[in-house]
Symmetry: C2
Subunit: 438 residues, 2 copies
């Protein structure tokens, strides 16, 4: 029988609570020099040698040898075959999830279109909103290959109106994940290449003879992928650089402690660095959750991972009251926030920073991960302070519209002239002055 | 008398036009190893030694010695004094520009708020939109200190509802720019520190004893600032990394060629790397613009800069017709696009990529730079393919809202269970299954 796991306890009334919290949350993803150098070299080679370099790196890193680059592309027929080959229950669940994700993101797109207004003198101002032309979706291979991630990355792009979605997924030793291919089929992914790592990011960012250059790359990956994304940012758009996943559960002590323990585990099972935190003002309840943790731990399939995450990164935090729980929440700016309390609607507007807010005792994070509709690609490691869930807006961009009437240009020309001369930009001033009425 | 400048001519019917265009547009901002190492060191020192390190770097790079960090902060009284000290005409122009910028961004904010909807079973889905808490605005010192940039960066943040705006501006040898301070006053900037470079970026990203940590850093800077921003991205949000400014003028040949030449100059006078391009299907008109360029060049205050930019980076491109002009435009994805044609409204929806679109013969880019209302912080170097003008949305972030009813959780629990088991995430599955009705 396995021994109990020791989970950190923090109490907000302790003098060094703030410092303890800082230590708990400290996380730095470091691309060391070796990774930086390797990725720099891969990007350079793919940029200048295209397909040939991608094939060579795929052989070296994924142990996948092909004679011709075309063997690294999957046909739409193959995707359809994966979908048709699924057990009926899995297929139905995947399709239902895709429907709900699509429906939510269609709501999100509403009111996000172009707008304009005309001023009294006839001058028109506004903004034109357009989808990106082509987007790349990175899907990790191996154990972290999640079909749900394909839905969450590809569907918002399609809803935004992106014409072409290119998916890359490494298949080490040629090993394919049928669920991932089926999800690509359902999401309307246009082309799939079985390539991965920094070489796939480079191919998408710069384009090769076969892989078309995209406008933005989204999707999670390992440290090589994350480093490559950071480096190509500017040549191409990227989504956020994801850190380990975290959940913060705020509970009033009236939810079944087994439920809360399992909610924490559902985060912990992702990987050893995942961070599950419970905040409550009910000390007895925290004890009950801890008992549930010890009781349920041995029943988990992924116990070895969960055990490390719970011991190293988890915490049970006792606060004074709901107000302090909200304060701690805003300080943490969690990726996932469960408000397992009686009246979550009453407090949600006081949550300033959180990727997704799961309200009420029934709303397990796992429902949002798969099928509630909102995106499961969320800002980690406190970046909810300044980032948003992946959404339709991530696949659109805007152009300002300015159309001055003759009168408008004349009046604005006077202002621009004064300001431009104040900045010693006299060609600006003269360009504006040409439009001032004589 | 100065000699004529030789401006590149491209003709779309030439066999190697596409290649010539690639060469013309090629631009890579390279942070070399020396810059990377210097910035890495500065970030490290400021992160660990705070105020002390910032003071030391300010002394070393800006030749500004202070005994106490508080001397590096400007008071609100000092900002007000700068505003009150302006000539009446300048003050009025600055205030009028600020009003127009505010008014446009208030329109932009409309319809960008929180939303939610309820499904038949009572499940609530939506998104909560919140401003960031605190934002840093970087303002370059010396010759590139533009008061208009202060307005363009700070006002959208204020309109978004950001509580505190921290401005940093280097003052080499203690030299202050009164117009910049006045613009800070008008924009409602909350605190101003006279620091700059990578040390200012580090102070904003990590916080020091005196400088509060911000959630996002916006504003242009030199290669040290840009490199620092790229490195702190993740700890803090950043805006885009700006390249040299560019303008693309599409003209049907019926605008005064002097106007067009001056519009090109207004871009060229920014710096030697700035890129002004004219596209027209009227060869005679291109000749006329070239004649205007030669005629007006000697009359420019910033002739030495303009001359380099026009010779090295400018181009006059002759295309077949309007359709091909639009094609070239979308390929270039310009920061600024002037549609100096008879009916710009008829074609604007075919412009897929551009930072800002200036429509009609009266709408000089310079009007948009200062006072039309839309932001002048725009995506450069073709990044309009995936980026937008700076806007209110850059200072907001979103949280997904999910509140499942008991029925909703039960139905969704079934779907999530199947998918989680398909991904071998069984704690996810069990967390969802707890919510399935018995």
């Amino acid at each position: 029988m396995s021994s109990n796991v020791s989970v950190k306890r923090l109490v907000s009334s302790q003098a060094d609570f703030s410092q303890q919290l800082d230590t708990l949350l400290a996380w730095e993803s470091v691309s060391d020099t070796a990774v930086n150098e390797a990725v720099t070299d891969i990007l350079h080679q793919v940029k200048h040698q295209g397909d040939k370099a991608v094939m060579a790196f795929t052989e070296r890193f994924d142990h996948l040898h092909v004679e011709d680059f075309s063997s690294l592309e999957m046909t739409q027929e193959r995707l359809k075959q994966a979908l048709d080959g699924l057990p009926a229950e899995q297929r139905a669940a995947l399709e239902r999830a895709a429907e709900r994700v699509r429906s939510y993101h269609e709501k999100q797109a509403q009111g996000q279109g172009s707008w304009e207004y005309t001023e009294e003198d006839g001058t028109l101002l506004g903004q034109q909103v357009m989808p990106m032309d082509r987007v790349g979706v990175y899907v990790p291979g191996g154990k972290a290959a999640y079909p749900s991630s394909v839905l969450m990355n590809a569907i918002p792009a399609k809803v935004a109106g992106v014409e072409e979605i290119i998916m890359v997924v490494p298949t080490p030793h040629g090993e394919l994940n049928e669920l991932v291919l089926a999800a690509a089929c359902i999401s309307g992914v246009d082309r799939v290449f079985t390539i991965g790592g920094a070489q796939a990011v480079a191919a998408l960012a710069y384009g090769t003879e076969t892989v078309p250059r995209v406008d933005k790359i989204v999707g999670p990956g390992n440290i090589f992928v994350a480093t490559a994304k950071r480096m190509v940012f500017g040549a191409v758009g990227i989504d956020m650089i994801a850190g380990p996943s975290e959940i913060l559960v705020v509970c009033d002590g009236k939810t079944n402690p087994d439920w809360i323990a399992m909610d924490l585990f559902s985060q912990a099972e992702h990987d050893e660095d995942a961070q599950p935190i419970l905040v409550s003002w009910d000390k007895d309840f925290i004890d009950q959750v801890e008992a549930s943790i010890q009781k349920l731990m041995p029943t988990l399939e992924r116990e070895p991972i969960v055990r490390v995450s719970m011991a190293e990164r988890a915490a049970l935090i006792q606060v004074k009251d709901l107000d302090e729980a909200i304060e701690v929440t805003n300080r943490i700016a969690p990726e996932h926030l469960e408000l397992s309390i009686e009246d979550p609607k009453a407090v949600v507007s006081r949550i300033r920073h959180a990727g997704a807010i799961f309200m009420g005792r029934y709303t397990a994070e796992a429902l949002g991960d798969y099928c509630a509709g909102p995106n499961h690609v969320l800002p980690t490691s406190g970046t909810a302070r300044f980032s948003s869930p992946l959404g339709v807006y991530d696949f659109q961009k805007r152009s300002s519209l300015i159309m001055c009437s003759a009168d408008g240009a004349s009046e604005m020309g006077k202002i621009a002239s004064v300001l431009a001369r104040g900045e010693s930009l006299t060609a600006h001033a003269r360009s504006a002055e040409y439009r001032i009425k004589g």
